[in-house]
């Protein structure tokens, strides 16, 4: 069991409080409206949903009220209270908002209120027909024996934390929903991030196998150096072969090779044709193969490929 806070009754002409401790307050009926109803509902949240409709005719419509409900034997006990007014009143009495731990309602003390308790000079608190009521003392004039009730020895169960009724901008239910969504979202992000990290494992394995087979190629510099050595050779030799291939395609039964020379810079072929028409065909085909063409005579063509 945790340490319980000091409890005080809150009533209009209460004395000023001087303390820095946290305090549980018990509101007297001066600060709330109370209704007791017998309803066929099971859960408190259902009762809370319909609570405002019960108070429609009793509350000042210009003020904002909060509602609280708990089960009292076979009845539902409904409370309507204006938290702004309560906080403002308590601050006037020297109690800071952050010092208020829980708010209880005097109705919960009903079983201890058969005998009145005194609230200051002019009022008293007493249970009348099962409802804790504020009475002027003059009504109880013949009852001189006000009881001394030790509030701190009484355990109260139906309290409201001030955060749930006033300070928190976001209600608990929404807090739970938003937090759950955010945690799920965060979880999804973490799972996705971890899966992403695992996604390159197969590539890593492939690289490891390759490096095991070619340990000399583990250095990036060595690889680059070998590539620099062989890539130009590969490129140039392929170009030589492609060019020779393209020149060979220009030859037919009506066009034959007269001469072909290849050196480091170019390939030159002289092709002789049977007619001017075939020459033009060879020129077109050579152009299509991106070769440099020069007609040397009506039947002789010079084809050049630059390496």
């Amino acid at each position: 069991m945790g340490k319980s806070n000091r409890k005080i009754l809150v009533y209009k002409d209460m004395p000023t409080i001087t303390t820095n401790e946290q305090i549980d307050i018990i509101l007297t009926p001066q600060f709330y409206s109370f209704l007791k109803e017998e309803l066929g509902i099971k859960f408190a949240y259902q009762a809370k949903q319909i609570a405002p409709s019960f108070f429609d005719d009793y509350l000042d419509s210009t003020k904002e009220y909060h509602f609280f409900v708990y089960k009292c034997e076979e009845y539902w006990c409904f409370f309507a209270y204006n938290i702004v007014e309560i906080i403002s009143f308590l601050e006037d009495k020297g109690l800071k908002e952050h010092q208020i731990n829980k708010i209880f309602f005097a109705q919960e003390l009903v079983e201890y209120m058969e005998q009145a308790i005194s609230l200051g000079n002019s009022t008293a608190l007493k249970s009348i027909d099962g409802i804790v009521t504020i009475l002027p003392k003059r009504v109880l004039e013949n009852e001189h024996n006000y009881q001394e009730l030790d509030l701190n020895s009484i355990s109260l169960n139906n309290g409201i934390s001030i955060s749930s009724s006033y300070s928190s901008l976001i209600p608990l239910k929404q807090t739970i929903t938003i937090t759950t969504l955010l945690v799920i979202l965060g979880g999804i992000f973490i799972v996705e991030g971890t899966q992403t990290k695992n996604s390159i494992q197969s590539d890593k394995d492939k690289l490891e196998v390759l490096l095991d087979k070619n340990p000399k190629l583990s250095s990036n510099r060595i690889r680059k150096s070998i590539l620099q050595q062989y890539e130009p050779i590969d490129k140039k030799e392929r170009l030589k072969r492609d060019t020779i291939d393209n020149i060979a395609k220009l030859l037919s039964s009506q066009s034959r090779l007269k001469k072909l020379t290849l050196d480091d810079k170019k390939i030159i072929a002289i092709i002789e044709t049977n007619s001017d028409k075939i020459s033009n065909q060879v020129i077109t085909n050579a152009h299509n193969s991106k070769l440099i063409v020069k007609k040397q005579s009506a039947k002789e063509i010079r084809v050049e490929g630059v390496l």
Binding site: I178, L182, G193, D203, N214, R223, E237, T261, I267
Partner: protein
């Protein structure tokens, strides 16, 4: 006092912590994605480099190429081989009176094997008869 403030704004604090957690997770995912993309690109580049190096070495550093250079000696009749000289890493061949078929055969042999063609000179001597000079390296 601080405890009071925490208690008062408990709901907002819970949402703030959950938001921070979601944000942290989001940035973790982003950084993991960036890190992996960078790693993947490095790995893929390394794999492609190694494969390319192996491929190039296999072609242009083939040990059997020297033997293949000998085929230039026997690919046409002995009477058409004017000269054949083979040094380490180099072959110099010269042919005479090649017909079109034989010329094609020699050129195919040159093109289908990984020789580095240094010089090629084909001249028509008479219709359908060619001379050829070829220098290849490896």
């Amino acid at each position: 006092m601080n405890l009071m403030v925490i208690k008062r704004f408990r709901n907002e604090l819970i949402i703030l912590v959950a938001t921070l957690f979601a944000l942290f997770a989001f940035f973790y995912k982003l950084s993991a994605k960036n890190f992996i993309e960078e790693q993947k690109s490095q790995i893929v580049s390394s794999i492609s480099e190694i494969s390319r190096v192996n491929e190039l070495k296999k072609v242009w550093k083939s040990k059997s190429i020297s033997k293949k250079a000998d085929t230039f000696k026997t690919i046409v009749g002995r009477n058409k081989l004017k000269s054949f000289k083979k040094y380490s890493g180099k072959v110099m061949v010269s042919y005479k009176n090649l017909n079109f078929k034989e010329l094609n055969r020699v050129i195919k042999n040159m093109m289908n094997n990984p020789f580095r063609v240094v010089k090629l000179k084909i001249s028509e001597l008479s219709k359908g008869s060619y001379s050829m000079e070829l220098i290849c390296k490896w």
